[in-house]
Amino acid sequence: MKKLTAILLAMLLLVSFAACGAKGDETPTPAETPENPVIRISTTTSVNDSGLLPYLQPVFESETGYKLEIQSAGTGAAIQKAVDGNADLILVHAKASEEEFIADGYGVERLPFMYNYFVIVGPADDPAGIKDCEDAASAFQKIRESESKFISRGDESGTHKAELKIWGDNAPDAAADSWYISAGQGMGACLTMASEQGAYCLTDKATFLSMQAELKLDLLLEKGEDMKNTYSLIAVNPDKIDGINVDGAKAFIDWMLSDEASEMIAKYGQEQYGVSLFYLLEA
């Protein structure tokens, strides 16, 4: 109960901080409002829930006069929303799906611009002994051999696809392997489940850091070459889908690739966690 109260309090605090922040960032003379001021961006939970987009949003809006409408969901749903004509651009992290999105004519161009690393978290005593592994593939192998509990997103999100890629041809079968738990939920719910069950989990670092205080989980492995996680911006193709805010999407992409935004992205997380949560790809 104490923990729950703490969570509720923390949420209340965050909301009130966010409210203050939004107010403080309002400049007295905002840029002129563009003709079509609303940009609909469909993005993944890791970009939105980590606080990165809400942190960039007020600066972008006051500098350009646009209004950003952020929809966040797993990568699968984020892309589907754009296919259904409900977004002007997407910001996601699943290369294969992104390329398919473009090949099908829905996206203009894939612009990879930042990355971070997935990390493997698990119980502090590390029953599978993955701490000194070279990369995620060998860590997964050890988890499989020791049949330690592992929570999979199981929701076709970018993180889930990255996990399946690391398993390769060896992906466990949730029906047969009882240690492999396919949760079908968001990152936060999966981390909570891993903490409850003393299980391993592949997660983006941002979500883990933001929840760490509430979790009985340690960060066991990071920065394996196979754990790199690249984020891309893709504008939706106006020739394929009508009603797209082409200028707005371009304005946001230009701004995100600008030096100013790059600097803000590179700094994000240092104040709160002492480490950057996202790194910029060298152009």
């Binding site: 923990k3 699968g76 749903a77 589907q80 259904d84 076709e156 079908g184 939920q185 903490s195 409850e196």
Partner: protein, 228 residues
Amino acid sequence: MDALKQALHLLFSLDPELLQILGVTMRMSFFSTTISCLIGLPLGALIGTRSFRGKAFLKKLIHTLMGLPPVVAGLLVYALFTHYGPFGRFNLLFTVRVMVIAQCLLIIPVVTGLTASFMEQSTRAVIDTAKGMGLSRRRVLFLCLSESRTSLLSVVLNAFGRSIAEVGAVSIVGGNIQWKTRVMTTAIMLETNKGNFSFALALGFILLLIAFVVNVAASFVVREGHDD
């Protein structure tokens, strides 16, 4: 319609995962409904047919609880059964049992409240007559229950409908684990999050179909009841 076709195809292909999800859904809804009715029907009947001190307050309390948001019920049950929570040692989190517990928390007030209102409205005459006849309190209660059984059946169906359609509480305490605690509603949520909107809709049609079958079966039972 695409989703409708997909729904029929899914049903007739007897997909093992779909059958398993349907099985968990029915098991959960059966127990949630049964337990809620076993507690809520008699409790509501008592409240509806008797007068006692604090009754008005109790009714207000029940009506408030009838509006309890499923997510809040889920959070409360989660806080109780979490590993370090007061009932953590029972190891029930992420099981069908704890999903039933959370649903009962939601549905018992509904059953109690609805039963109480029905009994209050429809049984006043019965009570007066029965008192005139000098029947015992227990006989009166029994008589009231049998007089209003059509209304009570709709209460039971309401409870079942709540249970089978609820997603907020069961996803928190059940965890939507494949082959274990995944039910129709959380499966629909998952497919929606994956971006498989038409597949999600197909699952929704199947859920509606189940609800329809249960309702038809229930109305059949009532008709039988009227015949004798």
